[in-house]
Amino acid sequence: MNASPAGPDRHEEGTHVLPARVLLGTAGALLALTAVTVVTSRIDLGSFNVVLALSIAGAKAALVAAFFMHLRYERPFQTVVLVSAVFFAVVLVGLVVFDTTRYQPDVREAEAAARSRAAAVPAR
């Protein structure tokens, strides 16, 4: 990276100080969303409960990153680092879960078949 006018030194004149109401507002929103996630988890929505809880957690994480971690006021590169790490973590979880839900029944079937074959062979 070279020191273009929009480069690393553009904060030279002063740093971005977050206004108190932004910090307090972020904390308030996080507490409110915590209450929402507790309340909604008491309602039985079947498998949608997990989706909803993770969506609320994702929204809370985005608030923390944007304001407390001041990504909203930084050059985009720091956001790229975080988003790409989260992306690859999600790819990891997603592919592995896809794989296990697709093939685990086959594995169990094969294990059961192997057990019944072993039981059929008389012990020497």
Binding site: P8, T37, S41, F68, A85, L92, V96, V97
Partner: protein, 230 residues
């Protein structure tokens, strides 16, 4: 003549020799810290994968095991961590505005709230270990804790509940180690703040430790609903 003895003509003692300016030093620290935080996300990502695989294959286990987790303590700890993130961000703001008293107070509040979090965690772990709610094959729930279960849960006890607790202790334990590291860092920051090291010209450590602290908070934001609620 060592580097420290070179007369610092307008050069801050906290500016590394390799940096042309304080601003460049801050930007470099941010980049390095964010790369570290990216690796932390992937580090915990592996454990979230283990959680997802076991949950996908044994949903009954997860529904059963979370009867032993008290969501009120989880919610209390979530609130405590959000408060500590607020004070961590406040410390950065105070350093940028040269409010020395506010900075020291915010650092101490962050440290204290981290201590409260670990105290609640110690209560939870202590109660579980006392009642045989242990990881893996060591899982032997006491009669007392089983009696407290709802009727429906007692009727259908799944096998391998210890596996759930292996994941629980590993994920919350690793998170707890991160909180302990954060407490050490906040103690260090507070001592440096008392020595008057930080101000608008130099607040890199306050800002970078806060970034680390926020990611620890962020991970708990996911752990809380996944273990205590759903």
């Amino acid at each position: 003549m060592s580097a420290e003895e070179i007369p610092a003509a307008g050069r801050s003692p906290f500016l590394g020799v390799q940096f042309p300016s304080m601003a460049r030093q801050l930007e470099t620290a941010k980049l390095g810290t964010w790369l570290f935080l990216g690796s932390e996300v992937l580090f915990f990502g592996g454990l979230f994968t283990a959680y997802a695989v076991f949950r996908a294959n044994h949903p009954d286990l997860f529904h059963y095991a979370h009867h032993f987790l008290d969501w009120r303590l989880g919610a209390l700890n979530t609130t405590v961590l959000i408060g500590s993130s607020l004070s961590a961000a406040w410390a950065v703001r105070a350093a940028q505005r040269d409010e020395q008293r506010g900075l020291r107070a915010a650092l101490l509040v962050t440290l204290a709230l981290a201590g409260v979090f670990m105290g609640v965690k110690a209560l939870e772990y202590g109660h579980k270990l006392h009642n045989g709610i242990v990881w893996g094959a060591g899982y032997r729930p006491s009669a007392e804790i089983l009696a407290a279960l709802p009727e429906a849960a007692r009727a259908a006890t799944p096998d391998h509940v210890g596996v759930f607790y292996s994941i629980y202790y590993l994920m919350t334990g690793l998170h707890g180690i991160h909180v302990l590291v954060g407490m050490g860092l906040y103690l260090w920051l507070w001592r440096r703040a008392r020595a008057g090291h930080f101000g608008p010209g130099y607040y890199v450590p306050v800002d970078m430790v806060a970034l680390y602290w926020h990611i620890v908070d962020m991970i708990w934001i996911f752990l809380f609903p996944l273990f205590y609620l759903v």
